[in-house]
């Protein structure tokens, strides 16, 4: 009961967050020393004052800024995110089209990051100071510090161009047709349609961008798991577990890991948020038709409604992920209670 109330309250605050984010992004995007007219109209139309006036009038840019904002918020509370200047379609429709590709990639990345991050972290902690530990620590430092645009280009160059073992950019091979749309997550949709080879192809295409996108989070999870596990292993209740005669494996699996996971969950939350931020670069490099590319193009055109729309979407994601992390705390740690 307490938990449901807690979730309801957190979601209620989401409303204020969305309005706040819209304000901040609105102010920042309008302060950019650039002109949407220049970004969107051709040179001939720019020279034509009537065309410029018509453009401004169409997008409400002839009104004072605060009026523009109130109109925007007025539409926002009715669930209308406006129309994209660039695509001329409702922003909500655009987001619905582009978001599944992003979510599919993000989920794939975070799963890879969690599995390998935790695995590496555990091995590293158990084999502390061994050659294996040094190697893993080296990899995790690289994962955290190498910029994703460079890693993405190198991966493409090596595994696609040079060795030819990984597929090229895009969500599926160019000669294949996308699966029937259900969730718009290609792997899931292909599986639902029973098309195994298509699912495998889609999964295979996720590999390189997924690794690049997840490398930072994986490094972070590895390091946190290692240090957290080492810390827990030095606590009194681990000595109690030893005194009970448990094997080292039981001590780690039953007594240490559960406690060590608590800080790791926080890092997974942070990492997932980070992932969505890193999307812009990775999607652009891998020609991934997702929200990152959409945001990149919208920013280039000073497409205000699209920019604000993407920002709101990503901030909602942050909130939902943080909420999930907080709920997970309660599952992992019986001392956490929701009020």
């Amino acid at each position: 009961m307490g938990l449901l109330k807690y979730i309801a309250r957190r979601l209620f605050f989401l409303v204020f967050l969305v309005i706040g984010v819209s304000l901040v992004v609105f102010v920042i995007s309008h302060s950019v020393p650039s002109d949407p007219v220049l970004a969107n109209l051709s040179q001939r139309n720019i020279d034509n004052p009537e065309m410029v006036e018509a453009f401004k009038a169409k997008w409400g840019m002839d009104k004072p800024l605060y009026t523009q904002y109130f109109i925007y918020v007025g539409n926002l509370v009715q669930g209308d995110l406006g129309t994209s200047i660039r695509t001329q379609r409702p922003v909500l429709d655009d987001l619905q089209d582009y978001f599944p590709a992003t979510i599919e990639l993000a989920i794939f990345s975070i799963i890879i990051a969690i599995i390998f991050g935790m695995l590496f972290g555990i091995i590293s902690a158990i084999k502390r100071n061994s050659a294996m530990d040094q190697l893993i620590r080296g990899i995790s430092v690289l994962g955290v510090s190498v910029p994703s645009f460079w890693l993405g280009l190198m991966f493409l160059l090596l595994f696609y161009v040079h060795f030819g073992i990984a597929p090229g950019p895009g969500r599926i091979s160019p000669y294949l047709k996308p699966p029937v749309e259900v969730t718009n997550l290609y792997v899931i949709d292909a599986l639902l349609a029973g098309n195994w080879s298509l699912a495998r192809d889609a999964l295979w295409h996720l590999l390189l961008p997924g690794l690049v996108l997840g490398s930072f989070t994986m490094g972070l999870i590895t390091r946190t798991t290692r240090s957290s596990l080492l810390e827990v292993m030095s606590l009194d209740f681990i000595r109690t577990a030893r005194a009970k005669g448990l094997t080292e494996k039981m001590i780690i699996m039953r007594h240490a890991l559960g406690n060590a996971l608590i800080p790791v969950v926080t890092v997974i939350g942070i990492g997932f948020g980070n992932l969505l931020g890193g999307m812009v670069l990775v999607e652009t490099i891998f020609a991934w038709p997702g929200i990152g590319q959409y945001a990149y193009k919208a920013a280039g055109n000073l497409d205000f409604p699209a920019i604000i729309g993407v920002s709101i979407l990503i901030s909602i994601n942050y909130v939902v992920i943080n909420l999930l992390v907080d709920i997970l705390y309660g599952i992992l740690d019986p001392r956490v209670r929701y009020h």
Binding site: D236, F237, T240, G245, M250, H255, N259
Partner: protein, 332 residues
């Protein structure tokens, strides 16, 4: 060197040495300690912080972390040297035939498992109980250690219990497999005074019920006098005196024991100030030459700062490490 008591000892430690290599140098926590415990007996080990009493207990369980700890000597339990056994064989004895209660009940239980689960664990591991049997035994243990509404406590997590209750859970857990030897390392130190008394009362009563031998480690001579049969006094990693409780209280042979006994507060004594032993325990890195206690000793003579005394037996039951006794014996 050892307390020669004979073959019926349950546990016999011979010439135990434990040292830690640290960046500041080698720290000899336990120096040449020999102790024996008979079945069913309660042995008290008393000493100040840093006297090596806890490390002695941990080394019986083979729980001294290595590195940095290095252990040597013999630990003979049930006619077999635990130090000769494989890690796997020692593990099967731990928590089963030898169990331990720790000083900090607040942190010694795993916060993410219920108390019941933690009590059941050694039963499932060592005794091959089914879950149902283990639960029944766990509830029985909770009742035995005086926990009200055991069915409810069984399901609760450690943070829902008070310090005293947690220590009772620790005791229940230690007694789960009916150990032959129970090591209690300052079981009441971290608790409130009133709770301390309750836990001591519980341990005293349990002593009659279970027929485990107990090694009670404490810095509190009051606890020792309440429940021990024999006492070992440790100072700076060494045994300085050992013997039956009554004899040791009536006639302490080592100046340190004498000092400890004189510092117990009593109601009858009409002194306003408690007796204290002058000075502090020497730093493990700067042990005084000769006898370790010599800088604080009122009876110190020239030989005390020149040569370290050996542990000598003044009677079959009593041993002491002091030049005064050596000299007296020599004169006899």
């Amino acid at each position: 060197m050892s307390d020669d008591i004979g073959q019926d000892d349950l546990l016999r430690i011979n010439n135990l040495n434990v040292q830690f290599r640290t960046s500041e140098g080698v720290f000899r926590a336990v120096r040449d300690v020999s102790i024996s415990v008979r079945s069913g007996e309660t042995l008290g080990i008393v000493g100040e912080s840093g006297s090596g009493k806890s490390v002695t207990a941990l080394s019986i369980m083979n729980l001294v972390p290595n590195p940095p700890g290095e252990t040597s000597g013999e630990i003979i339990f049930n006619q077999q040297d635990l130090r000769e056994l494989s890690a796997e064989e020692v593990r099967k004895i731990r928590g089963n035939e030898i169990a331990m209660i720790f000083q900090e009940p607040m942190t010694s239980l795993n916060p993410i498992h219920t108390c019941g689960k933690q009590i059941m664990e050694p039963l499932l591991l060592h005794k091959g109980f089914s879950k149902k049997e283990a639960k029944a035994r766990a509830l029985e243990l909770l009742t035995m250690v005086g926990i009200p509404i055991p069915e409810q406590r069984f399901k609760e997590y450690p943070h829902q219990l008070s310090g005293g209750m947690r220590q009772r859970v620790m005791i229940a857990m230690a007694l789960a497999c009916r150990p032959k030897l129970l090591l209690a390392d300052e079981p009441t130190t971290a608790l409130d005074v009133t709770i301390q008394a309750q836990i001591m009362e519980l341990l005293k009563n349990l002593r009659q019920e279970i027929d485990s031998a107990i090694i009670m480690i404490t810095h509190d001579l009051g606890i020792i006098t309440e429940m021990c049969d024999r006492v070992v006094v440790m100072y700076a990693g060494q045994v300085v005196e050992s013997g039956p409780l009554k004899e040791l209280i009536r006639e302490p042979l080592h100046p340190y024991t004498e000092g400890l006994l004189r510092s117990i507060p009593t109601i009858t004594r009409e002194k306003l100030r408690l007796h204290t032993i002058e000075g502090t325990v020497p730093s493990p890195f700067e042990m005084p030459f000769g006898c370790s206690f010599q800088p604080r000793c009122n009876y110190s003579t020239s030989i005390c700062s020149e040569k370290a005394p050996d542990l000598i037996h003044v009677s079959p039951d009593r041993a002491v490490r002091c030049w005064r006794q050596v000299n007296e014996l020599g004169q006899d």
